[in-house]
Assembly symmetry: C2
Homo-oligomer: 230 residues x 2
DNA sequence: ATCTTACCATACCGATCGGTATGATGCGAA
DNA sequence: TTCGCATCATACCGATCGGTATGGTAAGAT
């Protein structure tokens, strides 16, 4: 375990076949063949499923290859090594999520409580998907081994949502908040922690709690900030 | 990986030397010798450090033995196998935490905001300890492989704190809450998610946020529930 | 028709894994 | 003094790990 460098990893800077090709070719795009692109996507799918199920250390390249219906060498012709595969696969899933997520709230010059409900519902709905639960668990579990992934996650999901809420708070006059950013963190912190506790830590089997009750409570808190209107 | 049972794990029901002794002796206590107890605690310490650092799959029994200053056989004379060692070590750490934690709030018939501040400070202070951060990360990361541990965690930490807050809310008349349990979850959800985001997902290096601001915001929310007193 | 390319199957590499076997050493209780 | 016991050191077990090598096959481009 992480002792001496065994000469196997002394290769270090070695490049993938495809990367070499890209390096020498004139145009930037490698122009993968159809079948090659299909294999690559099979690998990515299998790697995702395997990493999210078993974690980085628990997943083996043999199993990934088997699930992808591909020989191990094919994986190594597309990805440099296990770490690279993990990083690329998780990172691309991370940015995928945000693209499908931040579209709905666009269509809203709705009142603040409605916007907040929509955001909460979006987060809650996401956590109905078993794969997303595993994704979050993996992101947290491997946050020490792969801190860049955690930072990417923060960058493309946490940060935009917080910013969105703060903007919405500042853009309206019905409710007055002394510290909008703090309240935004209260809001998404509550929702996210609920998902974590209920779905990842198996709280729903031990301390079940209705998400709607939480959202209602949060909206009630917003309502307490209504400016005295006459 | 999790394929056929390789005959190695067919032993299954095998018992530890010490468990056998306990089974045959008259009294329930095995009466470990002094040196034996010391070895055991060395093993537990090393196992904790190693598991929290590298996760269950990433940690190797060889490394645990080396760090404990003990031969591998000694570990296997105290613990049945790797899974058992992990379970016992993490479970005992879990219950240890709660014992040192829930003592302070006893001395309080203080007003609600003071009590809540104390609880928040306790949670926040805990997350100044690097080992506790790793503990939480491990608990989440292995929650699928070891769901019983996650449930134990919920049982001895989350649940009591929630209950405590709900009791305090109901025991006073200065502030009126429609749904005390929901508010309790808002409160600890906010604090816990802050710790998770800042310390485990490395948010403090990307989106730093002052915990005091959060607590102030939460207390301000409490203050909004003050009954109209004249 | 030749050549390249990506894939396949299979087998191999050294290292490490979880766990066990053997046999020696030292120590407290009888 | 003898015995039992926990630990030691060392070496071993089969399995699996991440990664590579070899050599063959099929398809598309020239």
């Amino acid at each position: 375990m992480m002792k001496k460098s065994t000469g196997r990893q002394a290769k270090a800077q070695q490049k993938t076949r495809r990367e070499l090709k890209k390096f020498w070719s004139d145009d930037g795009e490698p122009e993968l063949s159809e079948v090659s692109r299909r294999k690559r996507s099979q690998i990515i799918d299998a790697a995702l499923e395997t990493f999210l199920e078993l974690g980085y250390e628990g997943a083996s390249m043999n199993l990934v290859a088997e699930r992808a219906g591909v020989i191990k060498q094919t994986i190594y012709s597309h990805f440099q090594d296990k770490q690279t595969l993990f990083r690329e696969v998780i990172a691309s899933l991370t940015v995928d999520y945000v693209q499908n997520a931040l579209k709905k709230p666009e269509l809203s010059n709705q009142p603040l409580p409605v916007v907040l409900r929509m955001i909460a519902e979006t987060i809650l709905a996401r956590h109905q998907d078993a794969q997303h639960i595993r994704f979050v668990r993996t992101m947290i579990g491997e946050a020490e081994r792969f801190p860049e992934l955690a930072k990417l996650f923060t960058d493309v999901t946490v940060h935009p949502v917080l910013t969105l809420i703060v903007e919405r708070i500042k853009a309206q006059k019905t409710y007055k908040f002394d510290d909008p950013e703090a309240f935004a963190r209260v809001f998404i912190g509550t929702v996210v922690n609920h998902c974590l506790q209920q779905h990842i830590l198996h709280g729903k089997e031990l301390l079940p709690f209705n998400a709607a009750r939480l959202v209602d409570e949060l909206v009630a808190l917003v309502e307490l900030h209504r400016v005295a209107s006459r």
